[in-house]
């Protein structure tokens, strides 16, 4: 298409604000798909970073770093309290006779508690409460993360254990759209889900376009028995609901990205085959094809260089519409549990994951992906509709 024709096309396209909006939304989604690894705050595929403590958090909740325990053993020998095994987490200072200060070496984070175990019964830990039975002294929120231990009589030999506990701490990261049952950030999961869905949609619709258009052109070119066979195969495929064909294929092959793509291709190729055949048949009747025959061009060249480019606009419109339907088919299959693997959730699978929590008021798991999928498919359909209208010569607005 040359520049003037494109400018005219763009002008007619932008007459409808709905079309422009849907184009903007579609481009945004494509950008999300392309740049998900840079846009998303976390990597939802990194299973090692998931923690159960973050599971099912509502929208806007902070991510939590769970509390830790730091343990160290000390030996009390010859009036000295010495960390065993060169433990460096704790430091011990003397504070006069029979007095020691046990503290955490790294005092940046405030401890929730510091517990000392195994002291003699007459030992005193300042500010600490003793366990009613066990010889455990617990100091809550210790000042400077230190505990002062005083002994009435210094025992000759004792083993002391120190346990420092830190509290659950917000990491500063906020689950803007909540988290799912695995503690996955829904925003990241949605961005990666868009990526997977768009990839599967484009790859599947693209493969179906290549395959179907090829068969359609073959049918139009050869005619006769080959035409009849291809077109009856199209009728056969069209006589089953898409979701049923997809389910059957995935039930046989098992789940996986390439299998979902194959399923979508087997569902969608017939639309392209039918469209390409009818377009090619009408093009083959035009005089420029006779002129190409008169030029003794090989048949493949006539089909690919003369017929195909003249059929392409309508096929591309069909492609735009079919991306949306491929995405929704993939989402449906994933929702039904036969689509993509659990570790790489698409939007459909995210919706399915949230489905079991939706009645326990944890709506956000299904809600986000659902809205995103809805907007994406509506935008792509509106875009495709507009392109189709513009391609229709009878369309005059």
């Amino acid at each position: 298409m040359n520049r003037a024709a494109f400018a005219e096309f763009a002008g007619r396209f932008s007459e409808s604000w709905v079309a422009v909006a849907s184009l903007v939304v579609t481009v945004l989604f494509l950008a999300c798909a392309l740049f998900a690894p840079w846009l998303s705050p976390t990597n939802p595929y990194d299973l090692a970073r998931l923690q159960l403590i973050d599971a099912l958090k509502p929208m806007g909740s902070p991510q939590v770093k769970p509390g830790e325990e730091i343990r160290a053993n000390f030996a009390l020998t010859q009036g000295q309290l010495i960390p065993e095994a060169n433990d460096t987490d704790f430091e011990v200072e003397a504070c006069g006779a029979n007095c020691f200060i046990v503290g955490l070496a790294d005092s940046s984070a405030q401890l929730m508690s510091l517990q000392l175990r195994g002291l003699p019964r007459d030992a005193i830990v300042d500010g600490a409460s003793k366990h009613p039975i066990q010889p455990w002294w617990t100091l809550n929120a210790p000042e400077n993360n230190q505990a002062r231990v005083r002994f009435e009589n210094l025992p000759a030999d004792a083993r002391v254990e120190a346990i420092a506990r830190t509290d659950n701490q917000p990491t500063g990261f906020i689950f803007q759209l909540g988290s799912d049952a695995f503690g996955r950030d829904m925003l990241s999961a949605i961005l990666y889900g868009i990526r997977i869905s768009v990839f599967v949609g484009v790859a599947a619709a693209g493969s179906a376009m290549l395959f179907g258009t090829g068969l359609g052109l073959l049918a139009a070119w050869r005619g006769g028995a080959i035409d009849a066979m291809i077109m009856r195969a199209v009728d056969f495929t069209l006589s089953f609901p898409a979701i049923l064909v997809g389910l059957a294929i995935l039930a046989i092959l098992g789940s996986g990205v390439e299998k979902v793509i194959l399923a979508v291709v087997l569902v969608q190729w017939c639309y392209y085959a039918r469209t390409a055949r009818s377009l090619a048949l009408s093009e083959l009747n035009k005089e420029y094809i006779e002129a190409a025959r008169g030029m003794r061009l090989p048949a493949w060249r006539i089909m690919l260089r003369h017929v195909l480019p003249n059929c392409l606009p309508q096929i591309i419109v069909l492609f735009t519409l079919n991306i949306a339907s491929a995405i929704s088919l993939e989402s449906s299959l994933s929702f039904l549990g036969v689509g993509l693997p659990l570790t790489q959730p698409s939007l459909g699978m995210l919706i399915a994951n949230g489905y079991e929590y939706i009645f326990s008021q944890k709506y956000w798991i299904s809600f986000g992906p659902g809205i995103v999928l809805l907007i994406m498919i509506v935008a792509m359909n509106l875009l495709g509709d507009r392109l189709r209208d513009l391609n229709n010569p009878r369309f005059e607005s």
């Binding site: 009849a228 005089e287 420029y288 006779e290 002129a291 008169g294 061009l297 060249r301």
Partner: protein, 328 residues
């Protein structure tokens, strides 16, 4: 005496069109023994064309002119009969694709005969490049040369067909045909879709080209004036058959077949003051169900019972004047 070389010869070529039938319809037809209705578009036509000669073919719409043109160029296969190019049968002639380029065609509709997705340079140069007449690197140059030859600016090669007027597009179509160095040019109603002033330009262009390169031409038209102006010999077709074939002066001066006579009587002339023309009475019969015997008998004044029964073959009346009337 100079030996005149025959460029093209058609011997009783016929073309039958069958309606497109699906597999199931074909099967039921075969089972019930029903024969589908067929159209005999061209019925045993014999023609020959000498080197440098221009043959005109005239006839009403639907008489098979265009089908005959497409069989001559090899775009359509024949249903019967043989075609020869310089004595060689078309089967082997068309199989050698590069040689087959020697027969080229100029089409009727300048809007649909150019592929709108290709640039003009590509449209003109493609055939020559594909068949190795010109290397790809010189395609633009070659196309530009052809454009200049047909009177268009050389820089048109980078434009698209829709940027040209009908006459310019027809020139592009002629340039495309010339680009592969043809020896026989078939012009199928090449000017019918153009304005009269543009028609004259295209006709002059074709005559110039004919003079320059000694092309043999077959010029198909329903415009008798054009035919008379351009052609050495004329074939008159009616419903798939040639009814009269003679030198132009002979045919226009002394028409034998009643159909030719009626056609010529309907032709406007500047010299006469006539305000009305006599149309040929009756409608052209459906080629699906052509009249028996002589196809023209339902519209002919001189028709006899004999005309209704037997098919007239071409017969001679004087030197190189053939006609197919039983009563002439």
């Amino acid at each position: 005496m100079q030996v005149v070389q025959t460029v093209f010869q058609a011997d009783e070529v016929s073309r039958v069109f069958e309606p497109a039938r699906g597999t199931i319809e074909k099967l039921t037809d075969r089972l019930t023994g029903k024969r589908p209705a067929i159209v005999q578009a061209v019925d045993r036509v014999s023609l020959s064309l000498a080197q440098g000669e221009t043959l005109g073919i005239v006839g009403e719409s639907g008489c098979g002119k265009s089908t005959l043109a497409r069989m001559i160029t090899g775009i359509l296969p024949v249903s019967g009969g043989t075609r020869r190019f310089r004595g060689e049968d078309y089967e082997s002639f068309l199989a050698r694709r590069r040689d087959a380029l020697k027969v080229q065609m100029v089409f009727q509709d300048p809007m649909s005969s150019l592929n709108g997705r290709l640039k003009v340079g590509e449209i003109i140069g493609e055939g020559a490049v594909v068949h190795g007449i010109v290397p790809r690197s010189r395609m633009r140059e070659h196309a530009a040369k052809m454009l200049e030859r047909v009177g268009l600016a050389a820089d048109s090669i980078d434009r698209y067909p829709h940027q040209f007027s009908g006459g310019q597009r027809q020139r592009i179509g002629i340039a495309r045909a010339l680009a592969v160095e043809p020896e026989l040019l078939v012009c199928d109603e090449a000017v019918a879709a153009l304005d009269v002033s543009v028609q004259a330009q295209i006709i002059n262009l074709l005559m110039d080209i004919r003079q320059e390169s000694g092309l043999s031409m077959i010029f198909i038209s329903h415009d008798l004036g054009l035919i008379r102006h351009l052609c050495d010999r004329v074939a008159v077709m009616y419903l798939g058959r040639v009814v009269e074939l003679a030198k132009t002066s002979e045919l226009f001066g002394n028409p034998v077949h009643p159909y030719t006579q009626m056609l010529l009587a309907g032709m406007p002339r500047i010299s006469t003051e006539r305000r009305t023309f006599m149309p040929i009475k009756g409608e052209i019969p459906s080629p699906l169900n052509p009249p028996s015997g002589c196809h023209f008998h339902p519209r002919c004044d001189r028709a006899t019972d004999h005309c209704r029964i037997s098919r007239p073959d071409l017969r001679e009346k004087g030197p190189s004047h053939l006609h197919a009337c039983l009563n002439a």
